[in-house]
C-alpha cells in the first residue's frame, strides 16, 4: 500500500468514527437510543437493513465463493423475497402496534417471561458468536496487508469497533449506514470496471463468460432434489425462506433497523426494497468472484492465496516441498493458459469439436491445479497444524492488493472496513439492547430511569464486543466465513422462528408448551447437526417444524391452561 492508500484508509476509518461520535453526542432517552426518533423514510430503512446484512464478509468472502464454487451460492437468498413479504405483512404490524423495543418483548406479552428469556437467550448466543466471525473478516485484510499476526489484528480491530459502537446509538447506526452502503456499491462497481479493464487485450466480456461457464462457474440454479448438496433451488427456497424469516422477523439486529420507520408504510417499503434488490446484488458480487477466476486464468495466481501463511512455512523445513509444488502449479497454469487460448481461438473460428477438445483439456488441467493446491494445503497443515488451510477468503483481497492501482486499493480496503463497522454497529447495538431490555430491565432492575438503562446498554454492548473478539480468535478454524455465519444461524434460527410462528398463528398454544417444545426442538437440531449429513439450510425448516409440532403436541396434553392468546396475527 502506498501513502495515498493509507491516507484514504485511515481518513475513512477516522471519519466514520468521528461521525458516529458526533451524531450520538448528548443525552438519549431509552426510546431514541434503541429505536431512533422513528422518522426514518423507507429508502434509509431499506439501506440500513441491507447494510446490516451485508458486512465485510459479504465483500470479501462472497467473491471467494464465486471464484471457487461459482454462482450457486446465490440460491441461498431465494427464500428471502417471500420471507420479507411475510415479515412485512404479519410480523411488522404487530411489532409496531405493541410498540416493543425488542422482538422478544413480544414473546413475553404473548406467552410468558420464560419464553421471552429463552428467545432472547438463543438470539444472544447465536448473534454473539456470529459477531465474532464478522470481526474476524476485516482482521484478515489487515493481517494480509500489513503482515501482522492474525490474533493481534483481531484484538486491535475488535477494540476499535467496540469503541465506535459503544458511542453510537441506534439512530447514528442507521445514519452512517447510508454512506457506508454507498461506499460498498461504489466499491463493487469500481472493482468490476478495473477487473474488466485488466483482462487480457482481445478478451471480450463474452469470452470471459465463456471461460467462466466452461469451468462451471456460472451455474447459478440447481434444481436437484439431492438433500446432500449444499445449495439447490429447493434448499434455497425452503431453507432460505425459514432462514430469512428468522433473520428478518426475529433477529433483533434486523428488527431494530426497521422499527426506526416513520410509519408502517416506510418500514414495509424498506423491507420490499431488500426483497427486490438482494438477489441481483449477491449475483453481481458472486459474478465478480467468477470474473476474478477468469482473470487468474491469464495471470499467474499464488498457489495458496494466504501468502503470509505460505511464506511463513516456506522459510522452514517444508520450504523445499512448498516451492516444488509452487513450481508445478506454475507449469500447469502455463499449460492451461495455452489450452484456454486454443479453446477460445477454436470458438472464434467456428470449430466446435476443436473448442470442445481444448476445453476438456483445460478442465483436466484445472483439476490438476486444484490437486496441487490441495496438496499444498496438506503440506502447510502438516508443517504447522495451527495454519488455516482455508484461503478462499483471501482470494479477492489478494487480487485487490496485487492488481489494482494505488488509491483504489486504499478505497476498497476502506470499503471493507466501512461495511464491517456498519454491520458490527447494528449487531452489537442489538445485543446490548436485548441484554438491557429483556434481561437487565426485566429481571435485575425494573424501576430505574432512562439514563441508567442507556448507560447499562453501553456497558453490555462493550461486554458483547469483548465476547465477539474472544470468539473471533477461533474463527480461523471454520471453512468459509460467510458459510459459518449461515450455518450458525441455521442451527439456532429454526427454533426461534418456531417460537414466533406459534405466537403469531397458534393462539391456543400457551407459554409452557411452547417453551418446552423449543427446548426439545433445539436439542433435536443439535443432535441431527452432529449426526446427519444434509445441507445446513434444512435445519431452519427442521427446527421450526419441530418447535411448532412439539408445542401442539404438548399443548394437547396440558390442556387449555395458560393458553390465552390475545395477540396473534389472526386477532
Amino acid at each position: 500500500m502506498s501513502p495515498l492508500d493509507y491516507l484514504v484508509l485511515f481518513g475513512t476509518l477516522v471519519g466514520i468514527a468521528a461521525y458516529g461520535i458526533w451524531r450520538t453526542r448528548g443525552a438519549h432517552s431509552l426510546s431514541t437510543y434503541f429505536k431512533g426518533d422513528q422518522t426514518t423514510r423507507w429508502m434509509v430503512i431499506g439501506i440500513s437493513v441491507m447494510a446490516t446484512q451485508a458486512s465485510a464478509i459479504t465483500f470479501m468472502s462472497t467473491p471467494g465463493q464465486g471464484y471457487e464454487s461459482g454462482l450457486g451460492f446465490v440460491q441461498n437468498y431465494f427464500g428471502m423475497p417471500l420471507a420479507l413479504i411475510i415479515v412485512a405483512a404479519v410480523f411488522l404490524p404487530l411489532y409496531r402496534r405493541l410498540d416493543v423495543y425488542t422482538a422478544y418483548e413480544f414473546l413475553g406479552r404473548r406467552f410468558d417471561a420464560k419464553t421471552r428469556l429463552l428467545g432472547a437467550a438463543l438470539f444472544l448466543l447465536m448473534r454473539g458468536l456470529a459477531a465474532g466471525i464478522t470481526i474476524y473478516a476485516p482482521a484478515i485484510v489487515l493481517s494480509t496487508v500489513f503482515g501482522w499476526r492474525l490474533d493481534a489484528t483481531i484484538v486491535l480491530s475488535g477494540l476499535l469497533v467496540i469503541v465506535y459502537t459503544v458511542t453510537g446509538g441506534s439512530r447514528a447506526v442507521t445514519l452512517t449506514q447510508k454512506y457506508q452502503l454507498a461506499l460498498i456499491f461504489g466499491g463493487i462497481v469500481l472493482a468490476f470496471i478495473v477487473l474488466l479493464a485488466r483482462l487480457p487485450a482481445g478478451l471480450t466480456l463474452t469470452d470471459a463468460f465463456t471461460v467462466a461457464g466452461g469451468f462451471r462457474k456460472l451455474e447459478a440454479v440447481n434444481f436437484s432434489f439431492d438433500v446432500h448438496q449444499r445449495y439447490t433451488f429447493w434448499s434455497g427456497l425452503l431453507g432460505g425462506l425459514f432462514l430469512s424469516l428468522s433473520y428478518f422477523g426475529t433477529d433483533q439486529s434486523q428488527v431494530q433497523r426497521y422499527l426506526h420507520g416513520a410509519s408502517l408504510r416506510e418500514s414495509r417499503l424498506g423491507l420490499m426494497f431488500n426483497a427486490v434488490c438482494k438477489i441481483p446484488m449477491q449475483f453481481f458480487i458472486l459474478l465478480l468472484g467468477a470474473l476474478v477466476f477468469v482473470f487468474y486464468q491469464f495471470e499467474q495466481p499464488p498457489v495458496f492465496f494466504n501468502e503470509v501463511a505460505w511464506k511463513a512455512q516456506a522459510d522452514h523445513a517444508a520450504g523445499p516441498r512448498l516451492r516444488a509444488l509452487a513450481a508445478d502449479f506454475a507449469a500447469v497454469h502455463a499449460e492451461k493458459q495455452q489450452l484456454i487460448h486454443a479453446w477460445l481461438d477454436a470458438q472464434h473460428a467456428g470449430n466446435p469439436p476443436a473448442a470442445a477438445q481444448a476445453r476438456a483439456a483445460a478442465i483436466a488441467a484445472q483439476a490438476h491445479s486444484e490437486a496441487i493446491r490441495t496438496e499444498t494445503r496438506s503440506v502447510l497443515h502438516a508443517a504447522d497444524p495451527r495454519t488455516s488451510t482455508n484461503d478462499s477468503d483471501y482470494i479477492f483481497i489478494t487480487f485487490v492488493i496485487d492488481h489494482l492501482p494505488h488509491g483504489v486499493i486504499g478505497l476498497l480496503v476502506a470499503v471493507i472496513f466501512a461495511a464491517a463497522l456498519s454491520s458490527k454497529a447494528s449487531e452489537l447495538n442489538a445485543l446490548g439492547a436485548t441484554t438491557t431490555i429483556d434481561f437487565y430491565r426485566h429481571v435485575v432492575r425494573r424501576d430505574a430511569g432512562d439514563a441508567h438503562y442507556v448507560t447499562a446498554s453501553k456497558w453490555f454492548t462493550a461486554l458483547w464486543g469483548l465476547v465477539a473478539v474472544a470468539f473471533a480468535l477461533f474463527a480461523h478454524l471454520v471453512e468459509n466465513l460467510i458459510q459459518a455465519v449461515n450455518i450458525l444461524g441455521s442451527v439456532f434460527y429454526g427454533v426461534v422462528l418456531g417460537l414466533f410462528l406459534v405466537a403469531f398463528f397458534l393462539g391456543r398454544v400457551g407459554g409452557t408448551a411452547v417453551f418446552w417444545a423449543a427446548v426439545a426442538g433445539q436439542i433435536l437440531v443439535f443432535g441431527l447437526y452432529f449426526t446427519l449429513n444434509i445441507g445446513y439450510l434444512w435445519y431452519n425448516l427442521i427446527g421450526c417444524a419441530a418447535c411448532v409440532l412439539f408445542s401442539l403436541f404438548l399443548q394437547a396434553f396440558i390442556g387449555s391452561r395458560g393458553a390465552a392468546a390475545p395477540v396473534t396475527a389472526l386477532s
Partner: protein, 59 residues
C-alpha cells in the same frame, strides 16, 4: 423518566386495523399492498429465469 415495572401480562386485543392513507403503499400502479407483494414475487421469478438463462447460455 421512570418506567413502570414491565410485566409479561398479555397485551389486550387491539381494534381491527382499518386501512388509512398511511398504511397504503402510495406507489404508482401499486395502490394496494397485495399488488406490491405480487410485484416482488414477479421480480423474484424474473431473477430466477434470468439466472437459468445466463447459466444455460454459457454452459
Amino acid at each position: 423518566m421512570k418506567h413502570p415495572p414491565p410485566h409479561d401480562k398479555p397485551a389486550t386485543r387491539g381494534p381491527d386495523p382499518t386501512p388509512v392513507a398511511d398504511d397504503l403503499p402510495g406507489l404508482p400502479w401499486l395502490h394496494r399492498w397485495r399488488a406490491v407483494y405480487l410485484f416482488v414475487l414477479g421480480c423474484f421469478a424474473l431473477w430466477v429465469a434470468l439466472l437459468v438463462v445466463f447459466g444455460w447460455l454459457f454452459a
